[in-house]
Symmetry: C2
Subunit: 357 residues, 2 copies
């Protein structure tokens, strides 16, 4: 019997099942660093520590010991199914008959890193930059697609002393696709507790990243909230329709609101010359999503659109206007159809089809 065990990143996020399986094993096999992490759990057992890169030796050894009738624990950091020992073991175990394997999943580096950064994940990709057995062209293709798709991107094995080219390509992909202000969280596990840093990609230099780091690249709506990296999952704030907003959207529904700048307005330009006025009042208020620059006034339960003027940009208005006319049948729909409205907002922010919600 071979238990392929993920021991997480530290004792706190090790699973109960991993502890029990290790206790019940006769032989413990793993990379030195990981065995050292569980030294107190393996006293009196046969221990086979090997260096990095000896994956095949470790897998073969686990199989031999298992065929001899021993219960073996093959140790991976994090989750053995995520760039760990599970794949290699299953490839090699097919040489033999009658070896039973059980995989114990663990907390992977991306989950650990995210917990220290705040809440950066929504739909995401996990990509290893190790090109030891993976072509650079394959890595770059995956990075480009994931970034284009607006997935959050978690990076494993970002750099090593001898492997710097994949990291350079990665940085260039983010610059090309996301621009220089894209937010990247870096969690460095050489420290305990780990050191979490948030930088814009233009400031991502090789000296602040090492092989014990996990990187999380935000998507187009990820924002920094104090020292945390947050990707809004979205939620609906119930709120009454303000009188001024009600008046505006009654006119809007009657076709009385012109498209573009309203230079006849006494207050024009309340933001900047050239601003569009189709949505004088925000149809999404309160969105509760700081991605466009709004924020809560602390302790007041008031949403403040402080730095948000997205709604007055030509591009936003051109995306929103027609679908909004289709969604709003009466002013009450500003409240009743809030979920649909928030999806429309997101579609326009992320440049996907606003008529396919």
């Amino acid at each position: 019997m071979i238990n392929v065990i993920g021991i997480g990143q530290n004792r706190e996020n090790m699973t109960l099942g991993a502890v029990k399986a290790i206790e019940e094993s006769d032989v413990i096999i793993g990379y030195k660093k990981y065995i050292n992490q569980i030294e107190d759990l393996v006293l009196g057992k046969e221990i086979i520590k090997k260096g990095m890169g000896d994956e095949i030796y470790r897998a073969e050894m686990a199989i031999q010991k298992s065929l001899e009738g021993q219960t073996v624990s093959l140790i991976s950091s994090g989750d053995p199914g995520v760039f760990g020992m599970a794949n290699v073991l299953y490839q090699i175990v097919s040489k033999y008959d009658g070896v039973e394997v059980k995989v114990y999943p663990g907390v992977s580096a991306l989950n650990y890193a995210s917990s220290h950064l705040g809440a950066p994940l929504h739909d995401f990709a996990a990509i290893s930059l190790s090109n030891i057995l993976t072509p650079l062209s394959e890595i770059e293709k995956k990075l480009r697609h994931a970034l284009e798709a607006n997935l959050i991107v978690a990076i494993y094995n970002p750099i090593s002393k001898t492997r710097k080219e994949p990291f350079r390509r990665f940085k260039q992909c983010v610059l090309d696709i996301k621009g220089e202000n894209a937010l990247i969280g870096i969690v460095d596990s050489t420290y305990e507790p780990p050191k979490a840093t948030i930088v814009e990609v233009k400031n991502l230099t090789e000296d602040i990243v090492n092989m014990s780091c996990t990187l999380i690249v935000g998507n187009d709506i990820t924002y920094q909230q104090e020292d945390k990296l947050i990707t809004p999952r979205g939620y609906v704030i119930r709120s009454d329709i303000h009188e001024l907003s009600r008046n505006h959207y009654e006119k809007f529904l009657n076709g009385e609101i012109a498209h573009g700048p309203n230079r006849d307005c006494d207050y024009y330009p309340c933001h900047w010359d050239g601003q569009y006025c189709d949505f004088c009042y925000c149809p999404f208020y309160p969105c509760g999503d700081s991605a466009t620059g709004g924020e809560w006034i602390k302790g007041k339960n008031v949403w403040n659109c402080k730095d948000c003027n997205w709604l007055h940009k030509k591009e936003a208005v051109e995306c929103l206007r027609e679908p909004l006319e289709n969604i709003l049948e009466e002013v009450e729909d500003l409240k009743a159809k809030k979920k649909t409205l928030l999806k429309l907002r997101k579609a326009c922010l992320l440049h996907v089809d606003p008529n396919d919600l």
Copy 2:
């Protein structure tokens, strides 16, 4: 103090930190089903159970209790950072001053599902099909890019009684991009232990999927090995160069091996009429990777290229020939440069640039 806690999928993959934090909390808040899972750990504590969809209520309640000075555990299934409570809490906590938050990462559904399927992951994407707050067009864009990029794709929230359209789109994307034989692993957690099934996408019907399922879509080299779904991570098998292979590649290096079919050969066509003979002996032997149809002869330590004839296809030869000529300077390089050769093989299998390894 608010602990945002991932309790994994079951007791076995709950972390030590989660257990301890729950024990040290005064108030436990969560969706009913998850609280029931940890009933024995929360005896005597204040418990606030709410239904699905009450995320905001739960987050606000956690904040209120914390502001009253209590230690609160806000419970998520799996990992709270992966489609869990962490994002919503961080969005709402910004309303208030002085609320301390700690996220306890957990084993997410994709890690759990993978452990029951075998070892299906390599670089991957995780995408939720819930379109409650996410536009369908955004979901479809992410699916298409992830599949095009050859990422493994883990699917959360695949279907519900009222939400079937995203699932239909998902299936169509896989059919369009991967073809009808693409392998999909389904892990259904309504069973304990969970039920793992592997199907080709053409056989993926709505009746075999429910909201407790996690799906894992394989990439172009994922294969089924008995009842397991495996994506080879790749590893290098050291092996001597066979005499016949040595002879062939000596001629190859001398420019004596013609391009295309070798109809003058006594054995032509050993596979099929029209086969290419540039690589009469496989330059990657033994690759140890069942993705192209080879397998180990059990108990013999012999790699058998049984169902692999990829190397004799026009398309493969046209991709491989020139880069191989650049890599091989002498016959010994078949052994000495095995890592590079395996990267070349992978680049051609995955249709990425074979000159950029």
